[in-house]
Structures are given as C-alpha cells and as structure tokens.
Amino acid sequence: MSAAPHTLLKPVIVGAGPAGIRAAEALVAAGLRPVVIDEAARWGGQIYRQPPEGGFVRPKSALYGFEAGKADAVHRAMATIRDRVDYRPRTLAWNCEERALDLLCDGATEVLPFSHLILATGATDRVLPFPGWTTPGVFTLGGSQVALKFQGCAVGRRVTFLGTGPLLYLVAYQYLKAGVEVAGVFDTAPFDAQARAAAGMLRDPATLAKGLCYVGWLRAHGVTIRNNVRPVRVEGGERVEALVWTQDGREERTPCDAVAFGLGLRSETQLADLAGCRFRFDAMDRAWLPERDPAGRSSVAGVYLAGDGSGIAGADAAEAAGERAALALLEDAGLAFAHERAATLDHKLARIAAFRRALSAAFPFPDDWAGAIADDTMVCRCEGVTAGALRAVATTGQAREINRAKALTRAGMGRCQGRMCGAATTELLARALGTGPDGVGRLRAQPPIKPLPVAAEPASGGSAS
C-alpha cells in the first residue's frame, strides 16, 4: 500500500477496552483520528468497566483490586486522547459489508466506511449447560462481576461459584471482600492440573501470586473449595435454592440463592466473520478464531484483530495487541511507526502466550461434559433446544456439521446467535459424531450480530465527529 495523506485514512476501532484504547492511542500518536465504536456508555471494556456516571463513589482500588493501577492507566489513556478520536459510545456495530460498518446508536442506523478496521471486540464467559442453568439466580461469572463492579450489587445473599479459570477465584474473592457469603467454590478442574501447571505459570510470577492470594484468602475465610467438581443440577423453579454437584462420584447439595458460573472465556468473532476474515480452529480455546499474524493482521487487507476477541489471552495481552495492531496498520499504510516498540510488543505478546498455555492447562475444559449431559437438558436458552434434539440430528445422520444442526434444530438461531450455546452445540455434535470439536465446522455469523429494532431509522446528517 502506498503512503496516503492522513486525512484520507479512515481507521475505525470496534471496542473501547484495553485493546481498543491502546490501538486508538497509537493511531492518535501517529496523527490519525480514529473512530472508536463501543457498546458501553463509558470506556474501559468489560475488565476495566467503569461504573455509570453520577453518584457512584467507590474508588478504583475497590473496583479493580490489584488491577487498579492498570485500569486507571487505561482509563487515563482514553481520557487523554478523547478530543483526538471520534468516540461513539452506546453504539453497536451490527454488520460489516463492503468495507463499511453498520452502526446502531439511540435507535438510529448509520453506515460508517473505513479504510482500516481494528476489531477489539472482547470476550464473554464460555458456558456449558446443566440442568437448571436458566433458573433466575444463575449468572455467568463475568456477569456476577459486572453486577458487583458496575452496580454495587451481589447476584445473591449466598452465592456458589462454579466452573473453572482464573475468574472463578477472582470473582469469589471479590464477593467475599464485598461481604457476601460465598457458599463454595467448585472448580471443574482436577487439583493436580493446577499443581502440574504451576511451573509454567511461574513465567508470570506476579499473576500467579495474585491467583494464590485469592485462593489463600478464600481458604482463610473458611470458604469451601473443591476440585474436579461436576454440576448435577440447580434446584428451585422460580429461583435458585441449591446447587447439587458431584466430586469424584459423590453427590452433595449446597443451599444457595445464586450460582456464578463460567468455564473460561469465548471470543466475540461475529464482526470478523462478516468482514470476511478467514478462520482456523484453535485447539487451546477449542474454538474457531479469525486468523491473525503476530502483529494482528487478519486475512483481509486492512482488517486487524486485537485482544480477546480473536483468542483469549487476557487484559495485559490485549493492551499490547491493540497497540501492536495499530503499529501494523501504520506500517501497512506507509506511515512511520516505531519498529523497536513493535519488537518489544511482539516479545511481550509471545511471553504472555506461553503463560496463557500454562493457564489453560491449569484450568482444562471439562471435555467429558458432552458425553454426560442428559438428553432433556436445555442447551440453547433462546430457542429451548435440548441436548437430545442435537444428538438426534447427529446420530440419525441428518447433521454432520454445526450449521446444518442449527437449521434443523434451531440451536444458535435465536437472539444470541449461538454465543451461549455454540460451545455446547459443538461439543455435543462432535461427541455424537465421534470427532473432535474441530470436526463439526464453524457456526457462521449473520447480520445483525445483535438484535436490530425494526423501527431503526437511518441517522439524519453525517457523522458527528
């Protein structure tokens, strides 16, 4: 690509979390004026999500704990460049077509052409269904954290924490510190997995120390922590009354009024799909992810990927990847960029990736779930599709691939487009077909990537930058 005058470049960043903000900062430093699209009302992303404006008083140390310094730095970075970016909060990018995004803001649609696009779309909890998982009082781990951080609320008076991953212990710790009763922390990972992975996690001793601190704090306060747990069911019809679980085959019942649940994170890849990016199956994330080179270039010229939206690596990696993608954009546009800084970021990202592999080994995906889950368990909470219905289309030969299973059963066809059931559907089909999760294809994204009001009107006038 030849050098273009700055004014002809229209870089657009989707997502104002750590990746999007650091990308914007690097573009601004090069004299560009990026558009920053974000669904939230305030910048920070999910991990560094800020409380709503007006009346919220907790300091950042209370909201973000050990990460307060990083959160503050990311927030300040965006505040500093605020006047030099076209920031669009409360805005959904619902489609990508022919090098333009479709936006929705306050009920109005707008077409936003871009010369370059950086997708920093983030992640949400990965979940696998179990009986009772749609009962009021069952929330994702991330959602339980949002309630506390963003609203000053606990999801219940007596909360069980279920699943695996660093977030399991972090959120339980945060709840305990907020004065909420933690009825138990039930990790699906076997204890020895964490012990075995500890050596690898020493690559990042500070992060490992934080994790150990959370566990230690929970234990010191008498919280029950169990490993190798499998959920059996949530009891209660109108709301959660108890979690029944097994450990090594022994069944136990823990009374509680809420369950916070998650099995690591899953990337938000829909826009990358609509932008035409090529995907590959990632064995560590057990998911199809848009391909990216170490700098964040996708398979589509001018489209870049950064942060958890294209592979789970955490907030520190997201900051580095956002900045790195912006440098790649500058390079591809023929503009000056800091080579040494790029090399530093590459090195940092490689180091985090190694740590991330150890983390993944410490909190393995419970790959026995698909074989064990009962046929009558609802898998797709939007459309009410059961595990049995999915198994049936696979074992009768009607569906050998996930999009066909979607067409026949409606799993993944509802409002969330498979965000919540996609992992489960993949695992169920793979198990029923005798293949791996890479063998059943990739659930294709369709516009709008989130519900679009029928009454949406085209925005009047041009962009308000």
Partner: protein, 376 residues
C-alpha cells in the same frame, strides 16, 4: 480406489426438486443416485421464505402447482414430518383499487384451476384481517395455500429418498459429466464415478453448468432474495401475506417469529450471497408499515440465498433437446418451493413414461432465442 455406482437415474442437485424426484423414482422402483455438493436442501430450497403458494403463479404453472398441492397434503406420510406446514391461506394484498382489479382479473383467469380464490375488500377485509395495517384496500385469499419451514421440508425429501433406497451423496460436487454410448458418466473428483441411464439436472442456480455440458446454453442469472426474521411475538397473523405488484411479503411462523422478505441481497461469489444493508433497512420499514404489530420488535437474523432466474420467470422443465434421457428442472425464478415436489413427480414420470401427465410445453429449454439474456 474409485467407487463406481451403476444406477438407472442420476440426480444432480439435492434441493426440493431433486430430492422429491429421487423419492418418487424410488417409489416407482428405479435405482437412484443423488449427488449434492453441499448438504441436501441447504441452498435456495432450504433458505427460501417458506411460502407454499399457488396463488399468483402464471397460469401455465398451475397444473403442476396443483399436483404439488396434493403432495404437500401428504407430507407426514411421505416425509415422516409435517415440517411446520400449515394451510393457513395465502392473502395477496391490494394497495390500490387498480391492484384489487388485477387480483379480481387473476381470479377470473385462474377460475378453472381449483384455487378457490376469494376477493375480500372494504369493511369485511378489516373485520377478517384486523392485524393488517391500513395500507391494503383488500386482497385475494387462497384458503388452501399456506407456509412451511423450508429448513425442515427440503432436507426431508432427500432423507426420505435415502430411506427409500436412493444413494444420496452429500458433499459430493459434480466435476465432470458426459454421455458415453447410452449412459451418462458422472465424476466427482477421483473418488466417485456414477453411471446411469437417465440424468436429472436439478442443480438450481448452478444448473446451467450441466446444461452447458450438453450443448444447451440457457440464459440463467442468479438473484438473491433478502429476508429477515424477528424475535418471537405473540400470534397475530396466520395467513401468508404477499402484495400485488411485489415488494414485501411476510408470514408468522408457528413459534411466533415474523419472517419477512423483500429486496435483494448481493453475491459474495458464485456460491454465496449476503443480505444487503439498504435492502434490510427498507424491508424493515416496509414490513413495519404492513404489519404494525412488529413495530417494537427486533430483527434477529437476516439471510439470503442463490436462486436461478430465467428471462420470462418461468422455469425450465422437461427433456433436453440435445441429449436423450436427460431432463432439466431449474430456473424457478424465486418461486420453486411450493411447486418443487410436483416437478419432482413430473420428472419421475418423464423417466418412467417418457412424458408427464402435466403440460410442460411452456417450460421448454429451447424457448429462448439464442441471444436472450436474463436480466435482474
């Protein structure tokens, strides 16, 4: 090792036409191999709007359409599923007195075909169809028309054919086809060779490639209907709705989602298409005007498909003019779903008897002058 299949009939394309032809041929006792390069019923047959409608078709299609109507009435027996097919009625709306006049004229022209059309207008229209907005002055109701779930119906025909003994090969593209003496030889890669006495070309928007291979170029173009579905809503509409003069169409699925269509998507390449943003927004506006109940709802999914259109919007159905024992059925120009099983049955008759009991003359492949091109 190349697998070699010998059979009476090879069917290229596992949509609703090819799938139903395979099923009816099996029921007549022929051995059948069906090749589908994707999944059966995954293209236009499976992603269309889902209208099961005779009303509004050109008169020359109505005999086949009536035969298809009878087959639709036997879905559970034939397929083991009702595929959400309901004979809810199809109501074609008139937005002006002139449009109403043309609906009345169609009713008169089609009187001998058994559609039992009923013109409803004025106060009676408002009373019977209170859910519809004020744009319509009346409409023409075909009480026995309706709608179905194409994602379920179309694969089910191929599945029933397989259950009846057809060899159904999915993910099996046709790479070469030729006539060798009195048989056809079809190759899919190096792995599969099919030899057959008869060949059915039911490859939808890609059928012209097969026709080309036998020296019968046809003016077929691909178009992409733009469709959207809302979140589920309390039931307010049972009839399938069209509009005289075209534009928007809609139906409320039994689960409450409103399916609407209108405008065109665009091609990503020869095989894939996407909804188009302006078409989506126009469709939402038009649909909300026609169906006020959806004005607060959300669209949760948009899609399109690839459909083959002919210059006169009638399909090509019948024997090849160059090659004995080759029969074509494609180019349904956006209206192949309802008529599909009737065409499949007619194809089976052509194989068995050399002729179909339904008149097919209007659908001859050689009806287009050599320099004709289809236009979008």
């Amino acid at each position: 090792m190349r697998e070699i299949l010998d059979c009476d009939v090879a069917v290229v394309g596992g949509g609703i036409v090819g799938g139903s032809a395979a099923l009816f041929l099996r029921r007549m006792g022929f051995s059948v191999t069906l090749l589908e390069r994707d999944w059966c019923g995954a293209k236009a047959s499976g992603v269309n709007f889902g209208g099961v409608r005779r009303q509004g078709r050109p008169l020359e299609q109505l005999p086949l359409s009536q035969r298809a109507h009878a087959i639709w009435g036997r879905l559970p027996e034939l397929l083991g599923t009702d595929a959400e097919y309901i004979r809810s009625g199809h109501l074609k709306l008139a937005r002006s007195e002139a449009d109403l006049e043309s609906l009345i004229a169609y009713r008169e022209r089609s009187a001998g075909f058994g559609l039992d059309l009923e013109i409803v207008a004025g106060d009676e229209f408002r009373r019977r169809f209170p859910a519809l907005g004020d744009r319509a002055v009346g409409g023409s109701l075909c009480p026995e028309d309706g709608h179905a779930n194409p994602r379920l119906v179309s694969p089910a025909f191929a599945r029933a054919a397989a259950a009846a003994g057809a060899s159904v090969r999915e993910q099996t593209p046709l790479d070469r086809v030729e006539r060798d003496g009195d048989r056809f030889v079809l190759l899919s890669g190096e792995a599969l060779e099919v030899r057959s006495r008869f060949l059915l070309n039911t490859a939808g928007a890609w059928s012209h490639r097969v026709a080309d291979a036998f020296g019968e170029p046809v003016p077929l173009v691909s178009l992409h209907p733009n469709m959207a579905v809302t979140e589920p809503l309390p039931r307010f509409l049972d009839v399938n709705i069209g509009v005289e003069g075209g534009g928007v169409y809609g139906r409320q699925a039994p689960r409450g989602n409103m399916v609407v269509g209108g405008g065109r998507g665009f091609a990503l390449d020869a095989d894939r298409a996407r909804p188009q943003r302006d078409a989506v927004l126009t469709l939402m506006r038009d649909a909300a005007e026609l169906f006020p109940q959806i004005r607060h709802a959300h669209v949760i999914r948009c899609w399109t498909g690839v459909e083959g259109y002919t210059p006169d919007r009638n399909p090509i159905i019948g024997p090849s003019r160059t090659t004995p024992n080759l029969f074509h059925a494609f180019g349904f120009s956006g209206a192949g779903f309802q008529i599909g099983p009737g065409v499949g049955e007619a194809l089976a008759e052509l194989v068995r008897d050399g002729r179909s009991s339904a008149p097919l003359d209007a659908f001859r492949i050689d009806r287009f002058p050599p320099d004709t091109t289809a236009t979008p």
